[in-house]
């Protein structure tokens, strides 16, 4: 394993390894730092920050499903002021590379957040969450419409210094994800994070009503991994030069390798953290082992390899 070099160039960002936490699954890093050193991750991706404090949706907020879960948190958070005052400085002081996820309920809110985050010291990248399914109005899921999605990204990009990459996080709940991907890339996104959760429902056997207080929720976990891989595959096939962060049910080193083979440059570990708070660093070690076992020296060697013909070395 010693001959594998996990360092990764993600759209100009130098990362010690290609494994990050997924937004909403690691808060702002502090809690997981009790279980492993968050500065050893490729990056910490924060829970999506909004302009104002937000209570989120009523409980119950989760339901376990086969190899996955539904959540309807509803973007509970302290708002950008508290985030910039407390959470970001902590991450910077810990030496963690930080990708700040932002979410808005209007194009203007996204632009304002991007401007404030972009001006803050210690931000490695911005991930624009245009795909959270837990909003009252499904029409506000910007990532479900190519025009709305590109409008948000076009408003965000000029607010952020050029050296800070902007990743658009996409929803799989669309007819053609390649269309959405193309629209946000032409609007100025540096790369893509794929995928956010899929909209789902679970029904309680006792009450015969939906389990979740918010009725619908986002499905995540290993159950969605094939869907996520398919999205990465399709977009990489259409736009092989676009940096992609693969997200969806990654649990093991091989799961991470799968995403790289499909065309992702980096990956995020999400729901599996709830099962195993030490999972992200286990995936880092596992990925190194999977690469070494197949004779690869760097993650970059395998990005998109599954699309290309030829024999395995």
């Amino acid at each position: 394993m010693s001959d594998v070099d996990l360092t990764t160039d993600l759209a100009g960002l130098a990362l010690p390894n290609p494994v990050m936490t997924a937004s909403g699954c690691a808060a702002a890093g502090r809690e997981l730092d009790q279980f492993f050193d968050v500065a050893e991750l490729g990056a910490v991706v924060t829970k999506s920050i909004m302009r104002d404090p937000r209570s989120g949706r009523p409980t119950p907020r989760m339901a376990e499903t086969p190899s996955g879960m539904l959540n309807s948190i509803g973007l509970q958070g302290p708002g950008i002021d508290a985030f910039l005052a407390d959470d970001l400085p902590w991450l910077v002081q810990r030496g963690a590379r930080t990708v700040v996820s932002i979410a808005g309920s209007s194009v203007g809110e996204y632009a304002e957040l991007a401007g404030r985050v972009g001006k803050s010291a210690g931000v490695s990248a911005i991930e624009v969450n245009i795909s959270c399914p837990n909003v009252e109005n499904r029409g506000l899921v910007f990532a479900c419409d190519p025009t709305q999605a590109s409008t948000v990204i076009a408003a965000v990009r000029p607010e952020v210094p050029a050296e800070i990459p902007v990743f658009a996080k996409l929803s799989p709940d669309v007819t053609d994800i390649v269309t959405i991907a193309e629209s946000v890339m032409s609007a100025g996104a540096t790369g893509l994070s794929m995928i956010n959760t899929l909209l789902g429902i679970a029904i309680d056997p006792d009450t015969l009503r939906p389990v979740l207080g918010g009725v619908t929720g986002g499905l995540s976990g290993p159950a969605i991994r094939p869907v996520a891989l398919r999205c990465v595959w399709q977009v990489h096939a259409a736009m092989p030069d676009v940096p992609i962060i693969g997200i969806g049910g990654i649990r093991t080193g091989f799961d991470a390798l799968e995403f790289l083979l499909a065309g992702a440059t980096a990956v995020q570990v999400g729901t599996v953290i709830f099962h195993d708070p030490g999972a992200p660093m286990r995936v880092v070690a596992g990925l190194a082992g999977e690469l070494a076992a197949r004779g690869f020296g760097k993650p970059a060697e395998v990005v998109g390899l599954a699309h290309r013909g030829g024999d395995v070395a």
């Binding site: 209570s55 009523p58 989760m62 709830f274 708070p277």
Partner: protein, 304 residues
């Protein structure tokens, strides 16, 4: 890299009443030492190095279920019953409710289970010797024995009230006398002890034993009722809540309930890291499952 990780001290705020509780949790592959039925419950003893010495009464353990590659992703959280630092063992009590607890019930000595513990804020202890009532519903009595011992070390009088629907749903009655100055048992069907609910027994006990502090662990409805009785008698109460959790470590935001903070404002508050023990008067018991209008960031407050 193995499954067991080394810890640094937690950077989170220390618990004011209990400086030993700030060392943070461990995640470890614990070995099953013993497992046996007790009434309608299962008592599981685990060898989890380092956990016992860090644990304070009221804290909980989150267990991964289903083994490696499990399709059940969410941890199951249980309050910690007894710990023994000499043998590095931790005990939990659970009821078989679903697939996850059914899997736990099938564990056998020597099996391994992934445990994160101790988690959450423990019960706060009085500074001065105080007469205390400890109220438990069902296996909510699990943390009360360790708490009783701590209180008695501080020369507090301990009055234990154990209640359940029926006798097999009581836990720990046999050892209760040893840790408490008085024990009151209630069952709703009258199968043992006083017929009725724990709260029926409280007013008289509070008066008779000159109780000055109340502790409670059990179902939400019971906690709410105990907090009400305590408030009516002008007693501080500390309630350990049972809220459904996905992670148990503070990252998922599923286990929230409306709680009034030090600044007097209501927030959706995580029961895993800000609880599970809350001051009874701080919790909006009647609003659990909703977002009260006055909550910081509530939709009506302009949070959307």
């Amino acid at each position: 890299m193995g499954h067991e990780m080394t810890m640094r001290p937690s950077e989170s705020v220390t618990h004011p009443a209990d400086a030993g509780a700030d060392r943070g949790p461990l995640q470890t592959g614990a070995e099953v030492v013993s497992i046996r039925p007790t009434g309608e419950y299962v008592l599981l003893t685990l060898r989890a190095p380092g956990v016992a010495e860090r644990t304070r009464p009221g804290q909980f353990a989150a267990l991964a279920v289903g083994g490696p590659g499990s399709s059940m992703l969410l941890r199951r959280a249980f309050s910690i019953h007894r710990v023994d630092a000499e043998t590095d063992t931790v005990e939990i009590v659970f009821a078989v409710h679903g697939k996850g607890t059914a899997w736990l019930a099938e564990l056998r000595p020597g099996d391994s289970v992934d445990v994160a513990a101790p988690l959450g804020r423990p019960f706060e202890l009085p500074e001065q010797p105080t007469s205390c009532v400890l109220v438990a519903g069902g296996y909510g009595s699990a943390p009360m024995f360790g708490l009783a011992e701590r209180l008695r070390e501080r020369d507090c009088a301990v009055h234990l009230v154990l209640g359940a629907a029926s006798e097999p749903r009581l836990f720990g009655v046999a050892e209760a006398e040893r840790v408490a100055d008085s024990v009151t048992v209630t069952t709703e069907d009258g199968s043992v002890g006083r017929r009725g609910r724990v709260t029926n027994a409280l007013p008289d006990l509070i008066r008779r034993a000159q109780v000055r502090a109340a502790y409670a662990c059990g179902p939400m409805a019971m906690l709410r009722a105990v907090a009400d009785v305590a408030a009516r008698h002008d007693l501080p109460s500390q309630c350990a809540v049972e809220e459904a959790m996905a992670c148990g470590v503070g990252v998922c935001m599923t286990c929230v309930l409306p709680v009034v903070g030090d600044d007097g404002r209501t927030r959706m508050t995580r029961s895993c890291v800000d609880g599970p023990v809350f001051a009874g008067h701080r919790v909006h018991w009647d609003a659990i499952g909703t977002i009260p209008d006055e909550t910081v960031g509530a939709p009506s407050e302009g949070g959307r």
